[in-house]
């Protein structure tokens, strides 16, 4: 498993940006947890808290011209890729001005202008979609890359496995970011993945595979950076096996009895990517505590405002029911 060598080519601005994004995801998710419990968010909700270093470590290497494909656990991917918090929160609250006009919801947040191809509630479905975005990039010589995110459970889905092969055969600029958070719903990845680790599948599809500590932003960032450079250079796809863990249940409402005693507590204690990040950058004197604390405060305010706005905003109008099913008619 690859550990992150600290800092590398990252500027202080980058570090601040990374921390802000990770903190934004964390606070967003914790607030969504509360709002869901309070009955103010409808539908199915899957929280990304705990996995922030994965989405941010990958996406900090990308621009708006690059694409990512998300999963049902998609808030983190969306935020890391630059989707705006306000419209995202409005979307979760099913409001007219939500990022998808209230017609998508938590599992279907998309923003193509930011290269976010959508959270997706069909496990594995975003993987071939992102392969297609990479194909478009190659055909149109855009120099951009595509990163499909996929869980450990999704790693057993046929369309995902096919996509690994296809991206290799077509030599596309894709980085497959598998997030192994230990579970697919209640099912342990050690049980459902018949080989030892997802990384062991890379060779079967003719590409390099790299396993990384997904709690360490620097580890993820470095591995992703190398894979993305390789992809941009036209050298084909890479598989990342990012070992991570979720702080909440599979979805909101999950009693999580399948998890080990203290498992979540230990995760939150020892494996909090935010604490790990803070410690690393402060120990290395790259950032100061007060800079980090200031971000924490700003993020709290941002999320608070977004919820307030959501509570005030109108539902979609009745005519939205019939709009946008086809381009015309």
């Amino acid at each position: 498993m690859r550990n992150g060598c600290l800092a590398m080519q990252l500027s202080r601005d980058d570090l601040l940006k990374a921390y802000r994004l990770m903190r934004t995801i964390r606070v967003f998710e914790e607030r969504v947890h509360d709002e869901f419990e309070a009955g103010r968010i409808p539908g199915f909700v899957h929280l990304y808290a705990g996995q922030e270093a994965s989405a941010v470590g990958v996406c900090l290497n990308l621009t708006d011209a690059d694409f990512i494909g998300g999963t049902h656990r998609g808030h983190g991917h969306a935020i890391a890729k630059g989707c705006e918090i306000g419209p995202m929160m409005l979307e979760l609250f099913a409001r007219k001005d939500g990022l998808c006009q209230g017609k998508g919801g938590s599992m279907h947040i998309a923003d193509f202008d930011k290269g976010m191809m959508g959270a997706n509630s069909i496990v594995g479905a975003a993987v071939p979609l992102a392969v297609g975005a990479a194909l478009a990039s190659k055909t149109l010589r855009r120099g951009s890359v595509a990163v499909p995110f996929c869980g450990d459970g999704g790693a057993n889905q046929g369309g995902v496995l096919e996509s690994l092969n296809l991206a290799s055969v077509w030599k596309l600029p894709v980085v497959f970011a598998f997030e192994d958070n230990g579970y697919a719903e209640t099912t342990a990845s050690s049980w459902s993945i018949a080989c030892k680790d997802i990384v062991n599948r890379a060779a079967a599809f003719g590409m390099p595979g790299v396993q990384v500590d997904g709690f360490d932003f620097f580890a993820v960032h470095e591995a992703a950076s190398q894979a993305i450079v390789r992809a941009r250079a036209g050298e084909g796809p890479t598989l990342l096996d990012i070992k991570t863990g979720r702080f909440y249940g599979h979805h909101e409402g999950d009693s999580q009895t399948y998890r080990g005693k203290d498992e979540v507590q230990r995760l939150r204690g020892d494996k909090d990517c935010l604490s790990i990040f803070r410690k690393k950058v402060m120990d290395a004197a790259l950032l100061e505590k007060k800079q980090l604390d200031a971000i924490d405060g700003e993020v709290e305010g941002l999320i608070e405002d977004s919820v307030k706005a959501a509570l005030r905003s109108p539902a979609p109008p009745p005519e939205a029911l019939h709009q946008n099913v086809y381009v015309s008619y």
Binding site: P42, F44, G104, A188, G260, L321
Partner: protein
């Protein structure tokens, strides 16, 4: 004394009873027990809505099999196992996921018996959740049973009551053909009625006359049966009497009961939660327009969602669904026409 169960409980009881009566019945699906390989509790979920909870404890992991997220592989395996001596009940968590695993049903299970000249049978039940109402969005709220009913060789069952759910499930498991069993997610806990404790079966292909009436025949399935009953109560106050027919299985279809009712009422309203185009409402309407045309006194009315995906926002999802009000309006139009 009446034994009132929810549809959830009735189904759980059916599973227990069919597995007790026949050792070749097995179950499979994602997290139908839960906790495989995990450090904590086994049987942690019993399916994502808890419907299959307790079965692994009773029947063991050789008969209650959790699966990886590999619907093609395990549904295909269920089909293969059915030709090799088992009677699998395979769960497809949501019918919306058929997109990743239709082939084992479309081209394999459905066609074996015919294509192989009667050489094999495929006693398989695939059970799956359908329906809107949970604000689950476009990819977790569909009905899609018309896609299965279109395929010769598949039987399609859609229960509306706890009593029917149990009896139809037992019949489906005992049946020698592949049966797709559609469970409306809203009905698991919202519906309860009298359910005998003993195992009993309801023949596939027999409609239920939910309410007798003289003015209009209303055909409805699943959750829509309940909406139709609500509408009928309202209409009764307006002295319009509805005969409500729940086909319960759409393939095979009990045409006779529908045609006889229309012969009496002369009017037909079909209510369905599936998309309208090439859907179940169209199917019933076309059968009546062909076979009972001379009985009809008014245009056939269909009450369905608009031809759009299911929207997420509660206000839109509710507007998308048929409602007792829309049904009542259609019945009134039919009577006036």
């Amino acid at each position: 004394m009446a034994r009132i169960l929810t549809m959830r409980k009735a189904l759980s009881e059916a599973f227990r009873q069919v597995m007790e009566e026949d050792p070749t019945v097995i179950m499979m699906g994602e997290d139908i027990a839960g906790g495989m390989g995990a450090p904590g509790e086994q049987d942690a979920w019993g399916g994502d809505l808890g419907i299959t909870k307790g079965l692994i404890g009773r029947f063991g992991p050789e008969r209650v099999l959790d699966t990886p997220i590999s619907e093609t592989a395990y549904l295909g395996a269920a089909v293969g196992a059915a030709t090799a001596g088992l009677r699998p009940i395979a769960e497809l968590m949501f019918v919306d996921f058929m997109g990743v695993c239709f082939d084992p049903l479309l081209n394999q299970a459905a066609k074996f018996r015919y294509m192989f000249g009667g050489k094999t049978k495929t006693p398989l039940v695939v059970r799956t959740q359908i329906g809107a109402g949970f604000r689950a969005g476009a990819q977790h709220s569909q009905c899609l049973y018309p896609l299965f009913a279109h395929i010769p060789g598949l039987k399609c069952v859609i229960p509306s009551t706890a009593y029917d759910a149990k009896g139809l499930m037992i019949a489906s498991v005992r049946d020698d053909d592949p049966v797709i069993f559609f469970e409306h997610k809203v009905l698991y806990d919202s519906v309860s009625d009298e359910v005998p404790e003993r195992p009993y079966s309801i023949p596939l292909g027999e409609a239920n006359i939910v309410a007798e009436g003289d003015d209009v025949t209303v055909v409805a399935l699943g959750r829509m049966v309940h909406f139709a009953r609500t509408a009928a109560r309202q209409l009764a106050e307006e002295r319009i009497s509805c005969e409500i027919i729940d086909p319960r299985t759409i393939s095979p279809l009990d045409e006779d009961t529908i045609l006889e009712s229309v012969a009496n009422t002369g009017r037909l309203v079909v209510v369905d939660e599936a998309y309208p185009r090439c859907g179940f409402a169209a199917d019933i309407a076309s059968i009546v327009a062909e076979k009972a045309f001379r009985d009809l006194k008014a245009p056939i009315r269909k009450v369905t969602p608009p031809h759009t995906p299911v929207p997420f926002a509660p206000e839109l999802e509710d507007a998308w669904l048929p409602s007792p009000e829309k049904i009542a309006a259609a019945v009134r139009e039919s009577v006036k026409a």
